[in-house]
């Protein structure tokens, strides 16, 4: 997957990713329409399918709202690359199949608008604009199982006795 970068700083919280005033719905498209609204009102008009969000430390901190990764995924973002993620966001993203990568050097050396290509299976990301390449460690344990199964719904479905 490859796409253009939207870049943000540290501690991007779930309240700015999807403000609570829109949480009276669980409709994915409606959530996507307000993605990043309080941080970057233009985001939703700029974002194109395949784009990548690049951010600093503690991305997705704050509330447990799964509406946040849903909104990001639904508006076409193919991957979020950050220096670190808040743990509930991290789990939520894996559960719903939004690819996320921790890779601090890429974050430091990448600017808004750069084109970035991510190969999750190989653990490699490239900044095509700058011609730089980075590697990141593969997922382990239950996180890896989740991704291999295609998300939590698929994983649980396979494990539950057929009703």
């Amino acid at each position: 997957m490859a796409g253009h970068v939207h870049k943000y700083g540290d501690h991007v919280d779930t309240d700015v990713i999807i403000p609570a005033r829109y949480l009276n719905t669980s409709d994915n498209a409606e959530l996507a329409a307000h993605c990043m609204e309080d941080l970057d009102a233009e985001f939703i008009t700029r974002v194109r399918p395949g784009d990548v969000i690049v951010a600093g430390v503690n991305f997705g901190c704050g509330s447990s709202r799964e509406h946040a990764p849903i909104a990001i995924k639904e508006c076409g973002v193919s991957c979020v690359i950050a220096k670190s993620f808040a743990r509930i966001f991290y789990r939520n993203a894996l559960n719903i199949g939004l690819p996320i990568v921790e890779c601090a050097p890429l974050v430091d050396e990448t600017e808004a608008g750069d084109e970035v290509e991510v190969d999750l299976a190989a653990g490699r990301a490239r900044n095509l604009t700058k011609g730089t390449e980075y590697s990141f460690p593969p997922l382990v344990g239950p996180a890896a199982e989740l991704v291999a199964a295609g998300g939590l719904v698929a994983l649980v479905k396979a494990r539950l006795p057929a009703g």
Binding site: H11, D15, V57, N58, G62, R91, V153, L160
Partner: protein, 419 residues
Amino acid sequence: MPGMTLTEKLLAHAAGRDGVRPGDFVTAKLSCVLANDMTAPIAIREFRKMGAERVFDRTKIALVADHSTPNKDILSATQTKTMRDFAREQDILHYYETEAGIEHILLPDKGIVLPGDCVIGADSHTCTYGALTAFSTGVGSSDCAAAMATGECWFRVPETLRFVFNGELQPWVGGKDLILFTIGQIGVDGALYRAMEFGGSAIHALEMAGRFTMCNMAIEAGGKNGVMPFDEKTKAYVDARATREYTVFEPDADADYAHVYEWNAGAIEPQVSAPFLPSNARGVSELKDVAIDQAVVGACTNGRIEDLRVAAGILKGRKVAKGVRCIIIPGTHDIHLRATREGLVETFLEAGAMVSTPTCGPCLGGHMGVLAAGERAVATTNRNFVGRMGHPESEVYLASPAVAAASAVCGRICSPEEL
């Protein structure tokens, strides 16, 4: 094998293992799974997608309508109805919508969570129950759905940070001030992926209300969970409510901590966290010229009876400053009733404050006190992110009930000492 921290013991217990080390992956059996009117609808949708038909145990699930209730608009009413219908279909024992309140005050008060339990909730402040010497943490709706179906959840055992507070607290300083101070010291990701274990004489001196407040805000430091030691105060609180057996754990003397912070609690003045991060904490004296439009006492941090008593003690015989909206929100129906019987509600009304039915309401910018652009509030809530209480250009200052009530009287941020 070295000793275990409190969180390691709790997770080992829930996973049915003799011992665990940080970094281990465990599958834990859950004592309770929680969701609310905002997160349950997605969890229910995912539960169905998983092909699940029945919840794993109707007595171990808690569904609480609190975020937008009494329902603020048609969409919210529809969300609550989705949860209510599911609760009826599954015959959920702990469904709360009337005579209810904010989930994290309600569950301990009803004796639903007990020491030694392992709890997850589709709400980030589920970490509150660590005050009962339980393991509890927030998850998203999908994890919640899986847990409702299977009764289990996987965890990576976190490293533990220990926070020791000794010394005698200054007047007007309580749990809220200690946790704001802590987050100010370590930052909003200072405990990322880690457990926060509290201890020291100042912690044992706190009433349960203050301990809940502290564990509640572990997530504001990025923590996986917060946990308090079990003592006679925990026992008295729990024994008045428990209807089943519980297990008491304590950390080993040779437990292995990633870091131990030791602070003199006696040197800490009342704290206020300025926008837009809970870690912008400083002494109230440094912020006392900040004028306010609204003061809120409530939320899962500080909507307990002890908090209302402190606020009423300050507002008694005084008046809320002209032009300031002072909103008091008892955390649960039972607390509302108690506050009424104790005369606190009358005190609030006489002072010119408004008293709301229990709800999260303004804490997340939902209803009952939403801010316009340029408005500023001091609130006993736990988050002051951009737009948290309303417009992205509004501001929230986090503080204790004492500072919030005193500020309501002064019309600016102030310490109760100034009155």
